[in-house]
C-alpha cells in the first residue's frame, strides 16, 4: 500500500471513472449534471459509495479514514431463523439509493468522516470460535488504523468478538457497553454454547475493563426473554429500559440516559444495535422481529441522540433482507447509521472537533 492515499478524497465519487467521469470534488452532493453519477449507478457496490480500503491498519491510516464499514456475513451464531448473512449486502444496496450529503445536519458524511468500506469479514462455516476470531482481528485492524467502526451483521453474536476487540484496543481505559434490542440477550450460555447471538452482554461484562455500571439495555419486550437473561440484569444491577418505559418517557430521554451511563468515567463505548428493537411493521427484514417496538421515527430519533454522544464501534445486526418488503428494512438500517453519523458530524463541528 502506498504511503499516502489521501489524494483519493479529491475525486469523489470514487468509483465513477471512465469516458464520462465527473471530476468535481463536490459533484456527489448535488443533483447530477451530466448523468446520474453514483446515485443508483455503481462501480463496486460499497457502503455509501465509499472507496474500498483493505482492512489493514496502515492502509486505513494512509487513506486518512475515520470511519470504516465492515460487513460481517456470519449467521451461524444464532438461535432463531437464519438469513442475516445477507445483511451487509442488503445494507450496501440500500445506500445506493441515498446521497452521502444530509441536509438535516448540513454535512457530507463521506468526506467529513472519510468513510471507507473495508469489505466483508471472512468466516469459517460451522465454526463460531474461528469466525469470531476473524471478526476480532478485522475490527482490531480498523481501530488500530485510527478509525471508528460501523459493523453490519450478521447475527447478534458479533458483539462478543467486537467488544473484545474494542476492550483490548482500549486496554488502559474503561469501556461502556450498550445493547439496544427487543431481546435481553444475556444468556450465560445456550445449550452449553457461550458465544451465540443471545450472550452479547453476558460476555461483555467478563471483559476486564467493562463494568456493570457502564452497561445498559434498551428496548426489551415480549416473551423471547428466558428468565436467566433477565436475572443477569437484576443480579448485576444493569439498567434495563424496557419498551413500556420508552413509550412513557420518550425515546430521547431514555437514549440520553443510557449513553450518559455508558460514558460515565469511560474512554470508549461499544454500541450494539439490533434491528429487532424496531417494530416489525417498520423492520420486517430481521431474523426475530417483534411487535410493540420502536417506530421508524423513534429509531431515527435514537440515532440522532446517540450521535450527540458517539461511540467507537456501532454495530447494526440481524438484518435479514430475505424477509424484507419493498426495501423498507434495509433502508431503515441505512438510516440508523446515516442519522447517527450525521448527528455525530454536526456535534463534532459544533464542538470545533475533527472526527
Amino acid at each position: 500500500m502506498s504511503a499516502n492515499m489521501d489524494h483519493i478524497w479529491k475525486f469523489v465519487p470514487h468509483q465513477h471513472q471512465g469516458p464520462a467521469q465527473q471530476t468535481g470534488a463536490d459533484d456527489h452532493i448535488y443533483s447530477p449534471k451530466n448523468h446520474n453519477g453514483a446515485f443508483k449507478s455503481r462501480g463496486l457496490t460499497t457502503f455509501m459509495g465509499a472507496p474500498y480500503c483493505p482492512p489493514d491498519r496502515h492502509a486505513i491510516r494512509a487513506m486518512g479514514a475515520k470511519v470504516c464499514f465492515l460487513g460481517a456475513p456470519w449467521d451461524q451464531g444464532q438461535i432463531v431463523r437464519a438469513g442475516t448473512s445477507q445483511g451487509a449486502s442488503g445494507l450496501r444496496e440500500a445506500t445506493t439509493q441515498y446521497f452521502s450529503y444530509m441536509f438535516e445536519y448540513d454535512v457530507d458524511l463521506l468526506t467529513f468522516f472519510k468513510v471507507v468500506d473495508c469489505g466483508d469479514i471472512p468466516n469459517v462455516p460451522g465454526n463460531n470460535a474461528k469466525s469470531h476470531e476473524l471478526i476480532y482481528r478485522y475490527v482490531t485492524e480498523c481501530l488500530e488504523g485510527g478509525a471508528k467502526v460501523i459493523m453490519s451483521g450478521g447475527d447478534h453474536s458479533l458483539p462478543i468478538p467486537g467488544s473484545r476487540a474494542l476492550s483490548h484496543f482500549t486496554r488502559k481505559g474503561k469501556m461502556g457497553y450498550l445493547h439496544v434490542d427487543s431481546h435481553l440477550d444475556a444468556g450465560p450460555d445456550w445449550a452449553g454454547n457461550k458465544i451465540t447471538n443471545c450472550s452479547g452482554p453476558a460476555r461483555a461484562i467478563e471483559l476486564p475493563n467493562c463494568n456493570a455500571e457502564n452497561m445498559a439495555h434498551l428496548g426489551s419486550r415480549n416473551s423471547l426473554n428466558p428468565k436467566d437473561w433477565y436475572d443477569f440484569y437484576v443480579d448485576n444491577d444493569i439498567r434495563v429500559v424496557a419498551m413500556g418505559e420508552i413509550i412513557d418517557r420518550g425515546v430521547e430521554a431514555c437514549t440520553k440516559e443510557i449513553f450518559e451511563r455508558a460514558w460515565r468515567g469511560t474512554e470508549t463505548v461499544y454500541f450494539s444495535w439490533d434491528t429487532d428493537s424496531i417494530d416489525i411493521s417498520c423492520m420486517p427484514g430481521s431474523t426475530s422481529p417483534e411487535c410493540y417496538g420502536l417506530k421508524a421515527r423513534e429509531a431515527i430519533q435514537l440515532a440522532k441522540t446517540a450521535g450527540r454522544y458517539g461511540c467507537d464501534v456501532l454495530e447494526v445486526v440481524e438484518l435479514a433482507p430475505y424477509f424484507d418488503v419493498s426495501h423498507m428494512s434495509i433502508k431503515m438500517a441505512a438510516n440508523m447509521i446515516y442519522h447517527y453519523l450525521g448527528s455525530r458530524a454536526k456535534t463534532l463541528i459544533e464542538q470545533g472537533k475533527q472526527p
Binding site: 435481553l184 416473551s223 423471547l224 428468565k227 416489525i280 411487535c291
Partner: protein, 346 residues
C-alpha cells in the same frame, strides 16, 4: 420455592441430550404445550387453565380466503416464544394444553359449525378457558353460542375487535357467514346490548344495514375516529367496563384487522388507519386488570398475506400477554429467588 418442581423451562436450554433448541419441538403445539385429546375428563385432569383449539374453517368468508391456515401459523409463531414473561415475572408453562384442530368436514358448513360448537362446549364443561384460533369469523357465532349455552341463565359480556361491524342480518340470504357474526351473537338470550363492546370500526366495508342494525339493537360501537379523538385508552376502558359490568362470563373476539395494516398485514381483510401494536399491548393489559376472561378467539389470520410473520407474531403476543398479565393479576408471580440451577453459587 418448591424443590420438586423443575424450573428448567424458564431458562436458556442447558445442553446435553435434552438440550434441543427451543424452536425444534417434537410436536407442533401452542407454545410447546402438551397435547390433550378433546375430552372433558382428560382436560379436567390435565390441571391446565387454557385449552387451545384450532379451527381451520374458511367457508364462512365473503372476501379473501386463506384463514384456514391460521391455526397452523399461530402455533408456528408461538415456537419463537417462551412461557416466561420478564415484564410480569410469571410463567405460563403448564397452564395450557393444545387440543389440536377441530376436524373439518369440508363443503358442509353446518356440520363444521356444529363441531366447533361441541368442541368449545367440551372445553367449557371441563372448566378451562378455550383459546380458539381460526378460521374465518363465522366461527365466533358457534363458539359464542357455546359459551351462552354453557352458562345458562347467567349473563355474558362480549368484546368484538375489528375494522368491520359484522352486523349483517343476512348476506345473500345466508345468516351464518363471517359478516353476520355480531348480528347473530347479539341475539344470544343472555347477552344484553349493554354488555357488548366493539372497537376499531372504520372505512367503507361497513354497509348501511350493518350500522342500522347496530343502532336498532342498541349496540354501542367505538369507531376508530372516536378512539383517536377522545383518546384510545379512556374509550377502551369504558368499552371494557361494559363487557365486565354485571356479567359472569366474558368473550373476547379478535380480528386483527382492528390493527393498522402495517401492524398486521397477515389478515384476510387489512384496513389502513387502525391501531398500533403498542396500543394493543396496553389494551391487553387493561383487559387483564379485570382478572378473568372466559373465551378468547382469534379469527381471520391469513399467513398467505403475512410479511415476516408480523400478524401471527402479534396474535401470539396479544393472547399470551393477556394470559401473562392475568397471571400477575391473580398474584401468580414466581419466586424472585429462582435462578438457573447450574449457576447458583457460581
Amino acid at each position: 420455592m418448591n424443590p420438586a418442581k423443575s424450573y428448567a423451562h424458564l431458562f436458556s436450554p442447558l445442553g446435553g441430550d435434552a438440550g434441543d433448541n427451543y424452536r425444534a419441538p417434537n410436536v407442533l403445539t401452542f407454545l410447546r404445550s402438551t397435547y390433550v385429546a378433546l375430552n372433558a375428563e382428560a382436560l379436567k385432569s390435565s390441571g391446565a387453565r387454557y385449552a387451545f383449539l384450532g379451527v381451520p374453517f374458511d367457508e364462512g368468508n365473503i372476501g379473501k380466503p386463506g384463514s384456514e391456515e391460521g391455526p397452523r401459523e399461530f402455533r408456528l409463531a408461538s415456537q419463537e416464544y417462551f412461557s416466561y414473561w420478564f415484564e410480569y415475572n410469571v410463567d405460563l408453562h403448564g397452564t395450557m394444553v393444545d387440543c389440536g384442530d377441530v376436524s373439518m368436514p369440508k363443503v358442509s358448513p353446518e356440520v363444521a359449525r356444529e363441531r366447533i360448537y361441541r368442541a368449545v362446549r367440551e372445553v367449557l364443561k371441563a372448566g378451562l378457558v378455550p383459546i380458539i384460533v381460526g378460521g374465518d369469523r363465522s366461527m365466533s357465532i358457534a363458539a359464542a353460542k357455546a359459551l351462552s349455552d354453557h352458562i345458562g341463565s347467567k349473563k355474558m359480556g362480549y368484546f368484538h375487535f375489528g375494522a368491520h361491524l359484522d352486523m349483517s342480518d343476512s348476506w345473500a340470504g345466508e345468516r351464518n357467514l363471517a359478516p353476520c357474526a355480531l348480528a347473530r351473537i347479539t341475539e344470544l338470550p343472555n347477552l344484553a346490548p349493554g354488555n357488548v363492546a366493539h372497537i376499531g370500526a372504520r372505512n367503507s366495508m361497513n354497509p348501511k344495514d350493518w350500522i342500522d342494525l347496530a343502532k336498532q339493537r342498541g349496540i354501542r360501537f367505538n369507531s376508530m375516529f372516536e378512539l383517536l379523538d377522545n383518546g384510545i385508552y379512556p374509550v377502551v376502558e369504558k368499552a371494557i367496563d361494559r363487557v365486565w359490568k354485571g356479567t359472569d362470563a366474558q368473550y373476547l373476539s379478535f380480528n386483527f384487522n382492528v390493527m393498522d395494516a402495517s401492524a398486521a398485514p397477515g389478515v384476510t381483510s387489512t384496513e389502513p388507519g387502525g391501531l398500533e401494536s403498542r396500543e394493543m399491548m396496553r389494551i391487553a393489559e387493561m383487559i387483564a386488570k379485570r382478572k378473568q376472561v372466559s373465551v378468547i378467539d382469534v379469527s381471520e389470520l391469513c399467513p398467505a398475506f403475512d410479511v415476516s410473520g408480523t400478524a401471527a407474531r402479534l396474535a401470539v403476543c396479544v393472547v399470551t400477554r393477556i394470559m401473562a398479565a392475568l397471571a400477575k393479576e391473580r398474584g401468580e408471580e414466581i419466586d424472585a429467588r429462582i435462578r438457573r440451577s447450574d449457576l447458583v453459587g457460581s
